[in-house]
Symmetry: C2
Amino acid sequence: MVDPRLSIVNKRLAMVENIIAVSSGKGGVGKSLIASTLALILSRMGHRVGLLDLDFTSPSTHVILNVEGLRPEEKEGIIPPQVQGMRYMSIIYYTRDEPTPMRGEDMSNALIELFAITRWGDLDFLVIDMPPGIGDATLDMVRLIEKINFLVVTTPSKLAFETVKKLMQLLKDLTMPVIGIIENMKMEESNFIREKAGEHNIPYLGEICFDRQLEASIGDVDKLLRTEFAQNLREIVLNRLRPRP
Amino acid sequence: MVDPRLSIVNKRLAMVENIIAVSSGKGGVGKSLIASTLALILSRMGHRVGLLDLDFTSPSTHVILNVEGLRPEEKEGIIPPQVQGMRYMSIIYYTRDEPTPMRGEDMSNALIELFAITRWGDLDFLVIDMPPGIGDATLDMVRLIEKINFLVVTTPSKLAFETVKKLMQLLKDLTMPVIGIIENMKMEESNFIREKAGEHNIPYLGEICFDRQLEASIGDVDKLLRTEFAQNLREIVLNRLRPRP
């Protein structure tokens, strides 16, 4: 039997123009910072943007954006609150920042439920902060969301690339659309990731420098948008994502 | 019904003196590098050491140790191959470095199976590189392995600590023995993690500096053991883990 929630999910997302799933092979590569900052950049450019934090392993966009005291409104579903001019939704509203030792299947059901109840309305971009790696959630999103596009984040490290390689292979096997790969926390010259992306026929979108000031801007959106990190990401958005004006 | 594999697992581990589960709230904090280097340090001190890579989300100890072409021997179970004088076992022997989009329950069964079949023999220390965060695997290890002790790794970052907090709370709720917390990739003076550890009654074991040379030592064990990273970790082992001579 087809999961009846499947048709509801895509109905909920009917008026969302672009869905960008920010993904990584492993944690700690800056995925959440890139997802949050990407959403902010698109929003400040005048687009209608939603940000959805699905990273139940380490939800952190609410810390980055300093979201406090806001709750989604219940009205024939759930309406995400406005944060920095964006519609914002996080799995943390349901885990309440407690340890959540949920089994994989329970978490998977919770994620599907979240999509089934959330009323995004009209959006130009929905940016999703995905859980790291290839788990139940990634598989379900692929199965569930027709319009999904993957944006892959890695660092220059061999260890990060080992896992990104697997994610890229999986997305290829599933014939998923991949926007490209961003190389984050770059500290020195190297073509390693660029070459590997080429070998996998995945567009290399650009690099973002390792920014020591970034930690101090967590929780302060204006400061965050002034960092070199955000400036590098803005260039990638302008040059490579080419959002319509 | 009690899982019949439970008694087998603890029989398999009967001659293992200490089990150290190197854990983290999120990925990318250096957990695998700390687990591998900790095992090497203990081994070079003359202890009998096993290293088990259970991080199916991003297995990387085989890359760090440059393990190639070795396979476990099958003989009334599985005998882990010798690597750098240690017994070495990794989930990667079974996932074959392919994308492994396994469902949580399948992976959980695979991990239990791995414990049930592996013949570690006499060991002073078994170091486990755990998957990051609080998932099925963490819950199963806690349930499965009587002698387990947790060693928690974090970075100074607010975002890493957000997740470590949850892991510490979970371990406390489950009354699990925690050896302490190591603060990795330290770049500047800060007492944030030390204070937070104190609030949670978890011993703060020490800090490891952010080491730009570390990436270049991946795959070269002797170089790795000469890094400042390894030197910092060695001091923590000598001062705080106090292994018997």
